[in-house]
Amino acid sequence: MTILDDCAIRLGDNMNRKGLRRGRPESRAGGIRRKRTGHGRIPPLSQRAASDETGRPGWMETAARKAGFTAGSGHAASRGCGTTFREAFNDWFSAAAESRKGGGTVREITDCALAFREGYSAGSGIPPKEIPLPLQRSASAVVTASNEEKTLPLVLSELEKLPLQEIMVVLNGCTDGSLEAVFRHPRVLKLHFPERLGHDVGRAVGAKAVRGETILFVDGDLPVVAEELAPFLLAVDRGTDMALNDITPFLPPFPQQDEVTRSKTLLNLLLGRPDLQANSLTAVPHALSRKLIDAIGTPALAVPPKAQALAIARGFEVTAPSAVNVLRKNRIRAGNTGAGNAVAKLIVGDHIEALETVMQMKGIRLDTTRLSRSELAKARNAR
């Protein structure tokens, strides 16, 4: 492959990915990164493992693409009889990670996996559908759906690209062709409830039914590309217990925020995690560890803020490793639009319930200061 070819692939890939990640605020992310490197200096290739804001690949990505190309060519030569695509990636990645001492951030690993797949596709001439991920533990996905025949096939075909042990669809209250849509995917397991389970209950039911160590949760009405789901799986596989969707870049400034967003921010603030901002288990996609679910119990998952509050209060690792813009894509229905709508009230109630639960654990004032007003007045006056 010539350099020109490589560039063409790179360019095509970039355009493609930009198209998929609509609304990702490149400028903001860029601003933060630039600060770290200082005075607009672009770090040498050897220091950049993954692609930077200019879209130029880092050394690890370049290496992944080369390795993918080699593996792909070998695959073509052996007429498909050699190692499989996934094995080839895992072999390369474990060797690369060893030489680097650790695999980098989930974002970098995802970028490497994508680069490897690209190289493999160029080398073998057969574009692999799968995204190879270096997962150490078994992973499952839970999809909740009620009357999502249009979007469900898209959601499932994206999930099938990921190295998942099982995909569980929790169908509830479906009266359309959702069930038939699931039948067209033979690998996919399903739970079927004739009645609507209500918000978030389907996810809890699904969590109970799957066996994976890492569980990815997505909605049947919200197709998210596999590339964007991968970081959540990776984060939990590498030790996080709760990987939330980082919606911070897509939020308006505080004065324009609705009460739901503000409630999410306040819950994190009161639990001593201001860094999580408005990130919440109420939003999909997210991934949880089996360890966490066993500790807090599946019923807590039916009230997502409660599960989040319990996880933080009990000292589990909660992070927001990746940003998927779900705010724009969310289906507009009767009942979820406008201020003070029914869903907003439900979520407000969830947050109050969450606080009530942690108050029972830790006392009404949680971990806020125990200093008395008198002592504080004394401290403030001592200038």
Partner: protein
């Protein structure tokens, strides 16, 4: 020929210092408005604050709750004609206000701070809203510094508490901010002791169906003296967040674990 007299500067004369004419405060025996001012070492700003307080209403009393002062604040207050409640230990703003409220005789109770000079015309709307407007809790409409991307934790807490109390129209208005005024009815309904925790008092007022309104906006953010050390600011933030937790707990006590919000028919028994 008439010689023009040149004005001569007489340097040997003693300078006459005219004492500033300051009308002492008159505390009406049967006041309509009680102005309550907790003060902890605020000798410097107190005279100006009391001057403005005296101009709020013709039938008023001014109560200075001098607590923990070592700079002679109570003497200054007494000399200027205010009723003084003295405490050797610092009480903090909130307890100071409660102590003042318990001693107040007026129909409207106006709360201000001793370290912030707010002109009387900015204070009158609060007293008037209670006396004539039928308002029980007259709040400052100030909602914190506007248009910040990342708001202060306390600002978030104030907005969310109001929203959860089904009063999003109050935005970030809070009993934590001054000036604000209470009616005697409000004081009797929620009880004076709850004033120790202002957000809890606000929650109680809303939950008991009192008339709570943001009546006027005073930009107190700009007036607030920027002298507090960072460590203390963090402690204060923590205290106020704790107060909001107590308010949320008040909502839970009154309306149940979900604060009166239903869960849209979740079938919770399907997952155990």
């Amino acid at each position: 020929m008439i010689r023009k007299r040149t004005p001569r500067i007489r340097t040997n004369r003693k300078k006459t210092i005219r004492p500033k004419k300051r009308k002492p405060l008159i505390n009406h025996p049967e006041p309509l408005v009680s102005i309550i001012i907790p003060a902890l070492n605020e000798k410097a700003t107190l005279p100006a604050v009391l001057r403005e307080a005296g101009r709020v209403h013709p039938r008023s009393e001014t109560i200075v709750v001098a607590n923990g002062s070592t700079d002679g604040t109570p003497d200054v207050a007494r000399r200027l004609g205010a009723r003084v409640i003295w405490s050797p230990d610092p009480l903090g703003h909130d307890v100071g206000r409660r102590v003042g409220a318990e001693a107040a005789k007026g129909r409207a109770l106006l709360f201000i701070d001793a370290d912030m000079v707010i002109p009387a015309w900015q204070l009158r709307p609060f007293a008037e809203a209670v006396l004539e407007g039928g308002v029980d809790v007259a709040l400052n409409g100030y909602s914190g510094p506007p248009n910040r991307r990342e708001p202060h934790p306390v600002v978030v807490a104030k907005h969310v508490l109001n929203a959860w109390l089904a009063r999003p129209d109050l935005r970030g208005a809070s009993l934590t901010a001054i000036p604000h005024a209470l009616s005697r009815k409000a004081l009797q309904t929620i009880g004076s002791s709850v004033l120790d925790v202002p957000p809890l008092a606000l929650a109680a007022a809303v939950l008991r169906g009192l008339e709570v309104r943001a009546v006027h906006t005073v930009q107190v953010g700009r007036l607030n003296p920027r002298r507090r050390r960072k460590g203390c600011r963090d402690l204060l933030t923590s205290l106020v967040l704790g107060d909001h937790l107590q308010a949320i707990h008040g909502l839970i006590r009154e309306k149940g674990a979900r604060g009166g919000y239903d869960d849209l028919g979740r079938l919770r028994d399907k997952v155990r």
